[in-house]
């Protein structure tokens, strides 16, 4: 175990260990969920101190497999409930389900969907919140969600406006940042964008990024914060071990990307719904053409 870096001095807290397990861009990777779950259980059992489990977005949808574009999000949320995620950032793919379905998914989730930089019009309730506060064995953790502006389904959510991530973090820290021992940003943004944000916010200890499917075997250290990303499709479970010192200093003790293994997934998952979608499209196309 190697001390990689001293992170940031934040609010005062008692000395405590915190393990942060993280994923990003799972994209309904059902073939790796068994292995991921096994890893998560192992890490929880072995952890010294509190454990957080977080996701940086795009867990619930994929275009690369036709079946994953039409079904599977509810099963994914059920799995995330089972392994007890603490929070998930909303990714652009997660929004592709549309507002009604996203609202149903958020209601089914026993963890909050986070996004601080999509702002609903007055009087409209979004199926996500800016941030959440998690208390783990004497450590108070603020988790903020952010999303990229790329490839968003703007037409599907006319009541949302995208805000600059810098302004969004500033607003959340201004409202909720006091008294936190550790601040984590789940940003569905590439590593370089997250690193630029890290330059501006020394009070943030950790940026877990996503969207770009990058792998960071070594964390990118910027301005005392660590920026990490664990590839995509559940290939890795990221693990960070932090120490929160009595003087408020947060130490990054270790960062590891833990391999997972593929297990056969049910090939027919979602096939019925895909056939139904295809049949409706062909029927309506036939009405137009003939």
């Amino acid at each position: 175990m190697v001390v990689i870096a001293v992170l940031t001095v934040s609010g005062c807290a008692s000395a405590a260990a915190l393990t942060v397990l993280y994923t990003n861009d799972l994209h309904l990777c059902f073939d790796r969920l068994d292995s991921l779950q096994e890893r998560i259980v192992q890490e929880r059992d072995a952890a010294d101190g509190g454990v957080l489990l977080l996701d940086a977005g795009d867990a619930l949808h994929d275009f690369r497999r036709a079946t994953a574009a039409v079904s599977g999000a509810d099963e994914m949320v059920a799995w995330m409930n089972d392994v007890a995620y603490d929070a998930m950032a909303v990714g652009n793919h997660d929004l592709y389900w549309g507002s009604n379905s996203l609202e149903a998914l958020a209601s089914a989730a026993r963890f909050p969907f986070l996004c601080a930089n999509l702002v609903p019009c007055a009087g409209v309730a979004a199926p996500f919140v800016d941030c959440t506060v998690v208390d783990r064995t004497d450590v108070r953790v603020l988790v903020i969600g952010l999303i990229t502006s790329e490839l968003l389904p703007y037409a599907e959510y006319p009541w949302l406006s995208w805000a600059d991530p810098t302004e969004a973090i500033r607003a959340v820290l201004g409202e909720t940042g006091d008294g936190m021992d550790v601040t984590i940003v789940l940003c569905h943004l590439p590593v370089d964008r997250a690193a630029r944000l890290a330059e501006q916010f020394p009070e943030v200890n950790l940026f877990i990024s996503g969207h770009s499917h990058e792998v960071t075997p070594d964390p990118v250290l910027v301005n005392g914060a660590a920026v990490v990303q664990a590839g995509a499709f559940g290939r890795y479970l990221g693990r960070l071990r932090l120490e929160v010192e009595t003087n408020g200093t947060v130490l990054l003790v270790e960062h590891t990307l833990l391999d997972t293994e593929e297990t056969p997934a049910r090939e027919l998952r979602g096939l019925g719904r895909l056939l139904c979608v295809t049949a409706i499209m062909l029927a309506t196309l036939a009405l137009v053409l003939f």
Binding site: Y96, N100, P153, A155, E156, Y157, M281
Partner: protein, 120 residues
Amino acid sequence: MTASEESLFDPYLKLAVVRDLIPVNASIQLGLDRWLVLSTWRLGPVQVDWGRAWGQPAGRWAVATFSAFSWGSVIVGVEAIGGAIRSVIGVRIYPGRSRMWGISLIGNGSGVQLTVGGTL
């Protein structure tokens, strides 16, 4: 999308036949002098609408809307009204922070249509 001459008031009843079978929606629109079948296929920032109208005037169309930015969309498509097949191209701009109202400028070969619309 419309295939008719615009009138100030054009009441209709819209029935969702397939709702939230992501990524497809389908509906039937019953108006005073025509009825339409409308379908939408959403692929993230791309939305493809196609439909057919029976009655006066009858027509068919397929239009793709690309919404790469929050402030605007590009619209490209084709429509067949009567015997004429025309291309459709246009832009839709949303001057506000959200897309609750917008301005469309759409040309279809026979003219350019400027519309302002919003959601209450």
